[in-house]
């Protein structure tokens, strides 16, 4: 006779164990949001939501009265995001088109991993190379006094985000049903026309998802901007101006704050803002990908 107890244990024990792991994981991930909220909410109360988001000057250690507006920080993040994306997107898409449509299977096998390896370059290394080589080069090229500005930072951030964008675009393009391509070619279209008018539009949602995930990666970049973006308080007016994005501000100022002070709380508020922005962007990307999988193939 089989003892039901044995089976009960051997079946439910693993279930409980894995369930506990999942619960612990979910708990710790939820607590990220909660702790950010708890630590940062005081800032919104004391500074006021509109002053926080729309105030132009961020100067917590001012000689006169501290200023708590993150608008110029958000603009800094926005400038680098737009610039880096406009460099990384064409590049990433071209590479993806090459990998999925043009390259021979052998070339693809070699190239795709190599592109992915770019993602494992630590951002502090990119920042260091920027300081050592790119910034002086940009300074000389544009004949300005130094190369610590939005442009230098954006180029390096684009390099950091390139693998993400290229990889996801490539996934999107190659999962377009072969039948679409065959039908198009059978109708007499050239390969390029097929790519341009059939494959890319069909992969549309997936490509947009790639953009958004790349954007998320770009917005969150800290070390590169910390080292080469210049970090000045002034409101940036050109691509060759130094900028101070949200991520760098947090990394720089967080160590000097006393736990619980208004400066501490406001930095957590900035972190909370970043968390929400990136989470929403990723969410939108996810929704698009799901939508796509319910249409195409």
């Amino acid at each position: 006779m089989v003892f039901k107890k044995d089976i009960y244990f051997s079946e439910n024990l693993p279930r409980l164990m894995f369930g506990a792991m999942a619960a612990l994981t979910v708990f710790s991930l939820v607590s990220i949001f909660i702790f950010l909220l708890i630590s940062g909410i005081g800032a919104f109360e004391e500074i006021g939501v509109s002053e926080f988001f729309l105030g132009i000057d961020w100067n917590p250690t001012s000689f006169y009265t501290p200023a708590w507006g993150i608008f110029s920080l958000m603009v800094g993040t926005a400038i680098i995001s737009v610039l880096a994306l406009s460099i990384a997107l064409p590049f990433g898409l071209s590479i993806a088109v090459y990998l999925s449509e043009i390259a021979s299977p052998k070339m693809r096998e070699i190239f795709k991993p190599l592109i992915e390896m770019i993602a494992s370059i630590p951002s502090v290394v990119l920042g260091f190379l920027g300081l050592l080589f790119l910034a002086p080069f940009i300074a000389k090229f544009f004949n300005i006094s130094n190369g610590l500005n939005a442009l230098t930072a954006s180029i390096l951030v684009a390099v950091a985000a390139l693998p993400t964008i290229a990889s996801i675009c490539e996934d999107a393009l190659s999962s377009v049903s072969v039948r679409f391509k065959e039908a198009s070619l059978a109708l007499g279209a050239t390969k390029w026309t097929t790519i341009k008018k059939v494959v890319i539009p069909a992969a549309g949602p997936g490509l947009i998802a790639a953009i958004m995930l790349g954007l998320g990666r770009i917005i969150g970049e800290t070390m590169i901007v910390l080292m080469v973006a210049g970090n000045s308080r002034a409101f940036p007016t050109s691509l060759l101006d130094p900028v101070r994005p949200m991520t760098a501000s947090i990394a720089i100022e967080i160590k000097e704050v006393v736990v619980g002070s208004l400066h501490w709380q406001s930095l957590f508020a900035v972190g909370l803002t970043l968390f929400i922005i990136t989470f929403v962007i990723n969410l939108l990307a996810d929704v698009l990908v799901y939508k796509k999988y319910s249409y195409g193939n």
Binding site: V97, M117, V124, A251
Partner: protein, 285 residues
Amino acid sequence: MATNGSLRETIYFYMFRGSAFIGIAILFIVLILLFLPGHSVINWHFLTSSWQHRDITQGGIFSAIIGSIYLGIGVMLISFPLGIGTAIFITEYSKNIFWKKIIRLAIRNLAGVPSVVYGLFGLAVFVNFLSLGTSLLSAVLTLSVMTLPWIITASTESLEAVPQKFRETSLALGATHWQTIKKIVFPAAFPGCVTGGIIGIARALGETAPIIIVGATFYLSSLPTSPLDKFMALPYHTFILATQHSSPYASSYAAGTALVLISLTFLLSFGAIIMRYNYRRKKDW
């Protein structure tokens, strides 16, 4: 017959091919640019001796290497089991479709949250709330929380790639749910999980922002012997040498440290990619 259309096509195709080559070139340019100032610095002494502050040419980055290794092992010990276990639960055990979707969505999106925000979290929870201070343990826990979403996502994808047929056949043959998972599903998904995990660790080793916030140090007189000790780490060491050190050799030493760091992350990533390649080739479904 070369028409306008096919000329345009050829140009475009060369453009695409060109961008791929430029992409690869970036990889090699980074390595070369590091190698030039840095290679003269690297020797056995550099890799195995402790940091000498007064004359950095006499010392080495052993403590930073050990610190990074400790970090890597610690993160692996925590996030692998937790991550893979959670993935198994999500794909094999949870019945409620609604919750399953929500949790998976939440986890996948957490993978995109900036590392500096995880650093803040670690500061609030591990350093302050749990009073662990700026220690090796705080850093390991923070980096583990950061790596979890990545490992979970990679593992769930790997588990879901196992054909449903396998499970159905196994159950039909009389195996229990757990036996099916243990002997059929998990072994099939294991390489994918491990690959994702190794790439996650490689990323964690290269992160600087969280450990700046949660506690790496620059000068340490001895290696950490308990999880609550201070520690050194390669990314932080590179950062300080690149921006704050006054020795005229600082730049070359920064490059040397960066070379060691990038070799580590490359080795891990490349290993994972090779593993994934072999796995996909041998896979027979």
